[in-house]
Symmetry: C2
């Protein structure tokens, strides 16, 4: 449906009021747009900064339909809209991107694993499991420890359990969620390949990055991935572009990868702007947020050129006590006039992602130090340098 | 007054709903803020994209007061708030930056000229004029043509008249506005020195740019000003920083300059983000919009480092007929994946500033061509290359 706003430009709606919507709205402003947001609450991160906010449930077809009727294109800041509701919107004639057929590979890890294995894409050994007997049978092949994952609904390490024996597996099985089991991959590090694809099939790939996790939460992203063999980097980009094509993704596709002694394995997929691409806001000529909008609007892709030899993004996690962010910003800006800060307007709770900082530089170690120290200062108001790995 | 919003961060309010507010809101989002906007109408450029919009008149003390009570700091996207109302807000205890004492130098050209002349800053020869006799007396010193300027209220070439003789002068005098007369300066080109200053006196200067005007409207800005002698560039930056100090400016100060065979003369001052600084959005590590917010919040200034050897900004002016901007964006992005586009959400009318584009590059001629062609395409849908000078 054609729904136009100022300057005769299309209305893009994003389901979800989190920081991804917030930063997409920032990008929308430059393109002459104003992102329409379907948020749970008026204090959601994106709802605080956008003019066009509808309050509603992303699990309600009525709310989704009312929202879609006010948009020319609907897209997502998370994977939690039930796939049958996405299909219902499509059947009602709404343009939803990525579409339901693509989106299910980012919603259900078992569907994703099976599809990727079918395409011959390297993934960890996996199997669906429902009983302890299933898990023990799989352990007979891959050994302990192994990984149990909720097929749906996990994020930031939630829904993933490394289990060392049958007793630990049984405790996870008791939760009753639909599970798959995976081999515990002896990984060297984690990488991410971020690409975008338009409906006509044009693809664009940013440099492959290294992602550093703590307790299952991404804390640092380095672009490009230090010391990554050029052939492996190209292989990762080609893999991500191929997956975007095979799965008919429109928008940003993030492919989380394990680097092992034997090569790359695909860990997870996300079909939206992704934490591994926050560095592009300040560090690439086209940010993932602008690119996602271009893709869903079928505009040609923007240049993904990196704007400095090294770009490092560090997430700001909530710390303990009163953050007094106003004072911490004073201190941080005084110390590092070149650091770029992004805060999400969210209530600060321990461990919650409430912002990120980005440093650009010529020297890798120095650039990492600046980003990590900056994020740590916003978290706890000290200048302690936390060693990363 | 302390007025805090999400994350305990201060509420910054901007009077005026134009594109400067719109782009300041974009910058505010990164800092964890959401700009509060006092707009004339809900379809104003900034009102389309910000959550916190108050509708009201910038000439109404009641509206300004109600707005200021919802803000910790009030600042401006234009100079049209009467100075006595700014003073009244200050007297009521509101933090208004830049303050009324500074702002009058951006509101009244005669006050500005007299102050700058008193500081020994080079300005064109000028005098207040009320009668034809006054103008003729001044013409006896500087000759014809000379320039008549409305002391207040002008912008984009409005309120400035180049008059060739007494008859033309008489026609301007008949308008009844308060006028000053200035010598018609034999300028080589126009430059602008953009700086920002915090309440504590910290200053930051971006590179000095060349501005290209057509019919009194800025159409192109090149950073740094091509071929500008290093001594003159430093002199212009120091002059702007000194003026910011002397006038106690807080926020961005744009100093428009004439370059002549005998050196630099100050033409105009603006105490807000300025068209000559739009290139900083994509071309500098800290944009003028972020810097203005940092300044009024008394945060330390950000790095003004330029992000490419050449950055060229070209204004998108409204053309004739239906702009079909959606289609033109398709075409433009296909042709130049590295061009950065900013559209303001404004109704397109001939000659109106409705957006700008920015090109970054290593080669001056190529970078200018990309920016100028891109802006021309958004204006009229053709690829005609309009020679600039």
């Amino acid at each position: 449906m054609t729904v136009r706003a100022a300057m005769g430009l299309p209305v893009v709606g994003m389901v979800g009021g989190g920081q991804l919507s917030r930063m997409t709205h920032q990008a929308a402003i430059a393109l002459g747009l104003s992102l329409r947001v379907l948020a749970d609450a008026s204090h959601d991160s994106a709802a605080l900064v956008a003019r066009g906010v509808d309050l509603g449930e992303h699990t309600s077809l009525a709310d989704l339909t009312a929202f879609a009727e006010r948009c020319e294109v609907v897209t997502f800041d998370h994977e939690h809209v039930p796939n049958d509701l996405v299909q219902a919107l499509e059947q009602a004639g709404h343009t939803v991107l990525p579409g339901s057929a693509a989106l299910r590979h980012a919603q259900d890890k078992l569907v994703m694993r099976e599809r990727l294995a079918g395409l011959g894409v390297p993934v960890p050994a996996f199997t669906p499991v429902a009983t302890l007997r299933d898990v023990q049978g799989f352990a007979g092949h891959v050994g302990w420890p192994l990984v149990l994952k909720a097929a749906t609904g996990g994020y930031d390490g939630k829904g993933v359990w490394v289990v060392r024996d049958a007793a630990e597996a049984e405790a996870v099985l008791a939760s009753g969620v639909r599970l798959l089991a995976e081999e515990h991959v002896p990984l060297q590090r984690e990488l991410a390949a971020l690409v975008a694809r338009s409906p006509g099939g044009q693809g664009a790939a940013w440099p492959v990055v290294e992602t550093v996790q703590q307790d299952g939460i991404c804390v640092e992203v380095v672009s490009p991935a230090p010391g990554l063999d050029e052939d492996l980097a190209v292989q990762a980009q080609e893999l991500a572009l191929r997956l975007a094509d095979e799965l008919d993704v429109v928008g940003v596709l993030a492919v989380e990868l394990f680097q092992t002694a034997d090569g790359l394995l695909v860990n997870e997929l996300a079909m939206r702007p992704h934490n591994s691409g926050h560095w592009t806001l300040d560090g690439a000529l086209t940010s993932q947020f602008e690119q996602h909008l271009r893709a869903v609007l079928d505009y040609p892709m923007g240049s993904t050129a990196q704007r400095a030899p090294w770009v490092v993004m560090a997430n700001v996690l909530g710390g303990e006590g009163d953050p007094d962010l106003d004072r911490r910003l004073h201190m941080l800006f005084g110390r590092d006039p070149g650091l770029k800060v992004h805060l999400y307007g969210k209530d600060v709770r321990p461990g919650r992602k409430v912002g990120h900082v980005t440093a650009l530089g010529d020297d890798l170690a120095e650039t990492r130090r600046r980003a990590v120290e900056g994020a740590a200062h916003l978290r706890d108001g000290r200048w302690t340098h936390h060693a990363q790995r």
